[in-house]
């Protein structure tokens, strides 16, 4: 998961270490620790199916998928300053698209995933064109409405989506003509594409375009006076986030072999937003950990808690909001960074 381990370029120390990020915000060699941890984590994650039983392996695959959704949402919330309550819509569009393509056309990798990304991007472009014109609570409400609309569509268009029963019987993904049936192989398939998705979001957030998104988040009026069109940048950010959410959805279709309207409903959107808030908006890796925590509490420990997993999530959320100003990601920056610069780090999200 090399994608999430780097901190964004905005959080510069007052006097950066030699060889740190240049003025254009391009990447530099700061603490190699982050990369080291990322590389180590990747090795551990790749080795999981060799040592771990099937159930935890498939749970970990779910965590990766949900983490990818949360990280793509962080591009909107933390980097662009657009808190969305309907991001699961694009996740769901991707999941249904991949499922339908696999069921009715071909399950050959990576065609269903590519279709998921493309259709989710189009859905994000069409709806984002409306949504990103609004700000703050209006954006929240509009994305909520869009999410509900798309969920309604998935429920009522039963000829295509299977309605309330969901889209079931999705065939296993095929690699070189062989269907991936074993849990470990499916996990590896998910891991590869999740890492690719993380890498995309990471690259975008550290690119000149990502710097522009941060500028728009912090001061839209100033960006206009510099000649930036906030609408275009926000729309592009929205589409990229939607496309990566679509990729996560495509992976869900592979992993679950079933897609239901609940996968793109309000609860999924809200949990993704919760993962971002708990993890620390804007850090990318924080929301990934937040997402893993959400899946852990809801799906792994949930059954032992007599279905009170959501209650525990609520408590975790309250504790995180009150005691961790920058979420889980804030903990590490406190340890590794010094100087007054970091005190004023973005508190939004």
């Amino acid at each position: 998961m090399s994608a999430e381990a780097e901190t964004p370029t905005v959080d510069e120390p007052i006097v950066p270490s030699p060889g740190s990020t240049g003025p254009s915000g391009s990447p530099g060699r700061r603490l190699p620790l982050g990369r080291l941890i990322a590389a180590l984590l990747l090795v551990v994650l790749a080795a999981v199916p060799l040592f771990v039983a099937q159930f935890p392996t498939s749970m970990l695959a779910r965590m990766l998928i949900f983490a990818l959704l949360a990280v793509s949402l962080d591009l909107l919330v933390g980097i662009t300053g657009l808190p969305s309550l309907g991001h699961a819509a694009y996740f769901g569009v991707g999941a249904y698209t991949a499922g339908l393509v696999a069921k009715h056309w071909t399950a050959a990798a990576p065609i269903p995933l590519v279709a998921a990304v493309v259709v989710a991007a189009f859905a994000a472009a069409a709806t984002g064109w409306l949504a990103v014109r609004s700000h703050g609570v209006f954006f929240l409400m509009l994305t909520l409405a869009i999410g509900e609309l798309i969920q309604q569509l998935s429920e009522s268009w039963s000829d295509v989506t299977g309605g309330d029963n969901g889209l079931y019987g999705i065939p296993a993904v095929e690699v070189a003509g062989e269907p991936l049936v074993l849990v470990g192989y499916v996990y590896w398939y998910v891991l590869i594409f999740a890492v690719l998705g993380f890498a995309v979001i990471w690259a975008v957030s550290r690119s000149p375009f990502g710097a522009a998104l941060r500028g728009i988040r912090d001061n839209e009026a100033r960006m206009r006076s510099l000649g930036y069109s906030p609408f275009r940048y926000k729309l592009a950010g929205f589409v990229i986030a939607g496309a990566v959410a679509g990729l996560a959805g495509g992976l869900l279709a592979v992993q679950q072999q079933l897609v239901t309207p609940a996968d793109l409903g309000f609860t999924t959107s809200a949990l993704a937003l919760l993962a971002v808030a708990v993890g620390g908006a804007g850090s990318l890796w924080g929301p990934a950990i937040g997402a893993a925590l959400v899946v852990l509490i809801r799906d792994v420990y949930g059954p032992d808690l007599d279905g009170h997993g959501t209650l525990v999530l609520g408590i975790v959320f309250i504790v995180a909001v009150y005691s961790l100003r920058h979420g889980i990601a804030g903990l590490s920056t406190t340890q590794f960074r010094r100087g007054p610069g970091r005190q004023t780090e973005k508190a939004d999200g």
Partner: protein, 278 residues
């Protein structure tokens, strides 16, 4: 010299209040042109009408021969209009260099890059600009650690990164020490002549030190446009600023280099000048 910026009968009303009322203004290419006037004269409103931050109620704005009246601020910015703000709005958590880079990358065409690649031409331009405003040593310092004067200098570097043909400056010397405003004056005087400068400023020492043309606004209208000497000698201007009883006191000893607020203290009193009034 051709007119770079032309305002014809430009007006802006807020309800019944006419903050700017039928202003005609011609700013020739390459000139340093100051807008002055007592509090409430409509300077900042006029500034926003020129930048496109606020639409005009009446009249037309022409920039480099093109009618930009209906154009958004973004499109005017792309046509070479840059500005420094009255209240510094730099990105406080970013370094001085990053602030300039954000402007430079837009105008060097790399702002839409989606990969974290190095931008040598942007980096070079950033270095050049920081050097030109005397901040090359401070490139890697976050803005929140810069002094007020340094932030103002940085504002200029950011505006220059937009490759402007017209630079609008809204009270660049506000809150500056005499030494800092002296440095600012030198900086503006050293700008290349391809850049036309329109400056709104309370500090008359700064105005008379750098402006070649001065427009005096009063109650939203142009009272007088002329050379600094003409403005100094105008009885109408003195009356507008101080009322008839104080005539003759306004512009004493202001032609010397800036040494601190003399009369401007009088002018700087009171609430900040109209930011809309409505």
């Amino acid at each position: 010299m051709s007119a770079l910026l032309e305002l014809r009968r430009v007006g802006r009303s807020f309800g019944a209040l006419k903050a700017v009322d039928g202003v005609d203004l011609d700013v020739s290419s390459g000139v340093r042109h100051a807008l002055i006037g007592p509090n409430g004269a409509g300077k900042s409103t006029l500034f926003r009408l020129i930048s496109g931050e606020m639409p005009v109620t009446t009249g037309t704005v022409t920039l480099t021969g093109n009618d930009v009246t209906k154009m958004s601020q973004v499109r005017r910015a792309r046509r070479g209009l840059a500005q420094t703000m009255q209240h510094s709005s730099l990105f406080l958590t970013q370094t001085a260099g990053q602030n300039v880079a954000l402007a430079a990358q837009r105008h060097r065409g790399t702002a839409t890059w989606l990969l974290p690649r190095r931008q040598p031409n942007v980096d070079a331009r950033v270095g050049e600009l920081l050097d030109s405003v005397g901040l090359s040593e401070r490139a890697d310092v976050v803005v929140s650690a810069l002094s007020h004067g340094e932030r103002r200098q940085l504002e200029i570097a950011v505006a220059l990164a937009c490759e402007p043909s017209l630079l609008l400056m809204d009270e660049p010397a506000a809150g500056m020490s005499p030494a800092e405003s002296g440095r600012l004056t030198e900086l503006v005087l050293a700008l290349p002549r391809e850049i036309t400068v329109v400056i709104v400023e309370h500090d008359l020492d700064v105005v008379f030190a750098l402006a070649e043309r001065v427009t005096v606004l009063h109650l939203g209208q142009v009272l007088l446009t002329g050379t600094p000497d003409e403005v100094r000698g105008s009885a109408a201007v003195q009356e507008a600023y101080l009322g008839s009883s104080n005539r003759g006191e306004l512009f004493e000893s202001t032609s010397a280099p800036p040494q601190g607020p003399l009369v401007p203290n009088l002018l700087a009193q009171g609430p900040l000048e109209s930011t809309g009034g409505g």
